[in-house]
Symmetry: C2
Subunit: 235 residues, 2 copies
């Protein structure tokens, strides 16, 4: 029987983290690094399997297709991150409801930065790979993956928009969405190290220490989010 259906859907309708066999894991690990470094199109299955030390046909056996492999590589990291984000939001909103904390933009930002930071510092969960992969997904056009994301993780963005809206009263819904977009964008690309200075060969900065990144990025993002509303009219 093919191992795909047995691992991805674990029975009920709830989202679940599939367990992978050792071979499948080796493939995922190798593919992750190569997708991040070379991009999905430029990475061949032969390179992946060679680096993973498995047979070429194993990819199609375990993942059906290259596209499905990419999706699996991404979701393996994205799932846990999203789960942790929702948990952070839960506790934050709990504390706010209990009057123990104010719902500030910084608190919201930290609730999604913290899981990303934890991931970045944990090599066992892919380290900085996930963020770099995400920054690629933002720019490239993985239609199939986007469908999965909007189907399975729509709740995430809905809840963040609502929380940010409450943290930033005085802003229209459109303005909130704009700042969400900009704030998340900065985080992922900053973590991923997509540095303009690097493109120009002036990369003294990107020391790639995740703590350093957070230190510089969070104040930047918070300042952007909390800046006074843009001009009143719509032109």
């Amino acid at each position: 029987m093919d191992p795909i259906t047995s691992s991805v859907s674990a029975g009920d309708g709830a989202r679940s983290e599939p367990k992978y066999s050792e071979t499948a894991t080796r493939i995922l690990d190798a593919a992750e690094g190569l997708f991040v470094e070379l991009g999905m199109e430029a990475t061949s299955l032969r390179l992946i399997t060679q680096q993973a030390g498995v047979n070429l046909a194993a990819v199609n056996y375990h993942f059906r297709s290259k596209d499905a492999l990419f999706e699996a590589v991404f979701l393996r990291r994205f799932g846990p991150w999203a789960t942790e984000c929702l948990k952070e939001l839960d506790t934050l909103e709990g504390r706010v409801a209990a009057g123990e904390e104010a719902l500030t933009a910084e608190a919201v930002v930290r609730s999604y930065v913290r899981p990303a930071l934890a991931l970045s510092k944990d090599p066992a969960r892919g380290g900085v790979m996930f963020v770099r992969l995400f920054s690629r997904v933002l720019v490239e056009n993985h239609r199939q993956l986007r469908e999965t994301m909007s189907r399975q993780y729509g709740e995430l963005v809905t809840r963040y928009t609502r929380a940010l809206g409450r943290a930033l009263p005085g802003l229209t819904e459109q303005e909130v969405e704009w700042r969400m977009h900009l704030g998340f964008s900065v985080m992922f690309h900053a973590f991923a190290g997509n540095d303009i200075l690097k493109v120009f060969g002036r990369s003294a900065v990107s020391a790639r220490d995740p703590d350093m990144i957070v230190k510089h990025m969070v104040p930047f993002v918070v300042a952007g989010l909390t800046s006074p509303p843009a001009g009143r009219s719509d032109r």
Copy 2:
């Protein structure tokens, strides 16, 4: 004789905008759109030449190779943008020296946003294509292109760093570089429409009107740039 050497280097050592034959231009136009939409690796020369209505071999005749074509596609837009940015910086610094204007972060930001905005609104110069292409170059790894950039356009980033440093006294050189990186990153990805909400299928926002983008992005970036320095210590 091959037309490459005759167009790219126009004699002296100065950077020059090469003139392209009609066939070469058709190729550049088609390639630009496809590289932006599909990425360089996923775009085949056959697709480009078919869409451009030229023979397949024309690419290698006019541009030597696919890699060189990509570089040409990018530099055709980047060159004019960089030139205009330097011009804006010149006039800004001139007015500052004459005491007619203060050197604010916003003025610096606008000096690189304005050329990008002008480009985005001018279909004859590629419209929004250039910014989207740049956002891809930020994420992907075009080694050859990066060498060209750092060789030919190092001045651009040097001058911006210096200007921003003067506009933001009180910041260390490292902090200035960090904010440069973050500020430019936001601009390109915002213009390019690399929207997180879009990935999740909640894309009510990205109306893609360049003026709208500027309206929301500039205050965000300026607020981030001018925010108080991060914590004093280095941890």
